[in-house]
Symmetry: C2
Subunit: 359 residues, 2 copies
DNA sequence: AATTATTTGTGCGTATGTATC
DNA sequence: AGATACATACGCACAAATAAT
């Protein structure tokens, strides 16, 4: 006869759990007493106590001295909580992204735990640590300072190793194999620049954020499109900046040099474009007659401005929905790897015009 | 000799916990074996096992078969998580409110769990249940459909009874004693209306949302200010609506009747005001020359519109910061009751003008 | 109000199995 | 292979809480 390896107390545990799950024993009902169980299962009371003790710790039962042991009410399985860490939460395109995520998650009975890095890696680490602590069931993160090496990769790696599904948004972590949903920012840069080339512009300027991957890639697209048609990149037509999203760090002289050498400008985002429009207006020039402008993101700003902006549309809410539903796939196990790159379309408005029609 | 009531295994447990807390026993170090402990404490090995078993369940120790029992690494105390349920999250003034909350919480080492009711009480209940389940440490909630009886009061009451600090935002739950940080919407209504009265207007119209407390109270202020100066409220000067925040449900004829009978209009919020301005413009009338408009909230819309809006400023971010810091006080125990009503100020812009200067 | 039966809580002794070094 | 550690298992005794008599 083969030896039975399952301990006696495990057998009893399985029996009790089955009785509870099959609703033979109902919540707050007294269960069979320790002595009776010992007799029924031909084991010592001590062994019965071991089984019941463990089930008590596991939340199946509770004991009352002198009365008996009772079935614990089973809490509904906790909703999954998805941690979301973005660089900003309440400005620009971010509310829309978060709305997209929230929509999909709440429709699928998941919860949203929100963190905000403010583009600071130390704040990002804080958020990561506390979410790891809180045992979120999935993590969606938009890397801070995505153009620079990120010191939090080690922590992310640990979390992935622990089996946590991790998805990055808008950018990737360098030197780490992971899931992502990003934008094809190179293609976006090409699209914006090609639009101006098609309109006949040949001296095209660019303003880009250098410390974010998004800025670097849009800049690459900006260059690629021009190289393809044989335009070499002139130093005086490019302004790179870091830090503040609106380009506060850009000097007035930089704007002036730029504007003297171009007929059109590709702007890193709508915020930069709006600021540039103000400067152009101050100089007495007109948009698009004197200078054409194309920007990225197509945020609210693009249509609120006096001259409505031609802009490469950021999917915003759709991106949020996409990343959230991919996260659900990862959680459900229907997907193992998510490598998504979204293509962007240009929205033509009033700020760009063919050069041969210029006054 | 007095009888010692503390069980032996409790004595051992206390000893072990003390050894860990005082760092005499360090994480992942082997502790004294069961047999030795039994000898040292003159108790049976079984009793030692009882103590160690419980400490294992409580996360102090872990056992490895054949090797020994080890000190479990103590996890840093989990950050407090504050649940926040608002009616919207990504539109209008809500991103700013949430930013305010997030600012204060993250500066105080707390986390934000976000839910969104979309002004639906069933969705609100879902959020409440899942947050209760997730054991948040505090709850900040903006009641949905605040002008109507709320079916979730029972659940909130249970959560309060469980000792959970609960704070409502912008509105209160009827028939429930609780903490709140709200706006003085009556005062806001008075302020808006008094501004128009001071400008000489005597036939003042109003558009208000009837299913939210905020709408009802602003309406009350609107009436109070006029009653005080002896103006009786005429039916044809008031439009009440429900549902969609922008007043989609308002009929064209309602707008026409209103505009024929007034020289100025108090609008429930900036969204309604912007829509009304479009209608006035379509009719060939001018703002503020023909019709003055005052609205509430002073959102981005107020300055993005062609004619910049005179609006009673919603504190937005400051409200978020206020409610978050009050929550921290409740958690710290430095406050028991929070009953805050914030006063609002009027921001004068171009949409309101004295009547005797009218063209 | 006191007694009694039942039930869980604490505690000891013993024996054997099994993993680790 | 043997020593040591934890794991499973049985048996017994008494304490303390509860409920019914």
């Amino acid at each position: 006869m083969q030896k039975n390896n399952t301990p006696k107390y495990q057998v009893l545990k399985a029996f009790i759990i089955e009785a509870i799950q099959s609703k033979q024993w109902l919540p707050h009902e007294v269960i069979t007493s320790e002595n009776v169980l010992a007799e029924q299962f031909t084991m010592s009371r001590h062994t019965v106590r071991q089984a019941i003790g463990q089930l008590t710790n596991e939340g199946w039962l509770y004991r009352v001295h002198g009365k008996g042991t009772f079935v614990q009410e089973q809490l509904p399985p906790a909703r999954k909580t998805i941690g979301v860490i973005t660089t900003y939460i309440s400005d620009y395109i971010f509310p829309a992204i978060i709305r997209g995520i929230e929509n999909v998650l709440s429709q699928n009975d998941c919860q949203l735990m929100l963190g905000c890095s403010n583009q600071q890696v130390d704040k990002e680490r804080q958020c990561l640590e506390s979410m790891r602590n809180q045992q979120v069931d999935g993590l969606i993160i938009e890397p801070a300072k995505s153009g620079m090496p990120n010191p939090n990769v080690d922590l992310i790696q640990k979390m992935i190793a622990d089996g946590l599904p991790v998805l990055t948004l808008q950018a990737c972590f360098d030197g780490l194999e992971h899931n992502y949903v990003i934008l094809d920012d190179v293609q976006a840069g090409v699209t914006a620049t090609k639009h101006l080339l098609d309109l006949g512009h040949r001296r095209i300027g660019g303003i880009f954020k250098a410390d974010l991957a998004q800025g670097q890639l849009r800049y690459k697209g900006f260059m690629d499109a021009q190289t393809k048609v044989g335009i070499s990149l002139a130093e005086e037509r490019v302004v790179l900046f870091v830090g503040d999203e609106t380009g506060k760090s850009i000097q007035t002289t930089q704007y002036e040099t730029l504007l003297q050498n171009v007929t059109a400008v590709v702007c890193y985002n709508d915020l930069v474009a709006v600021k540039l429009m103000d400067i152009i207006k101050e100089k007495g020039l007109k948009i698009p007659e004197d200078i054409s402008i194309v920007s990225f993101d197509d945020s609210q700003l693009a249509t609120f401005s006096e001259v409505k902006l031609t802009s490469v549309a950021h999917p915003m809410e759709a991106l949020g929905e996409k990343v959230a539903s991919e996260m659900l796939s990862l959680l459900a196990g229907t997907k193992d790897v998510v490598h998504e790159k979204m293509l962007l379309k240009l929205i033509k408005r009033q700020s760009s015009k063919a050069i041969d029609e210029r006054v």
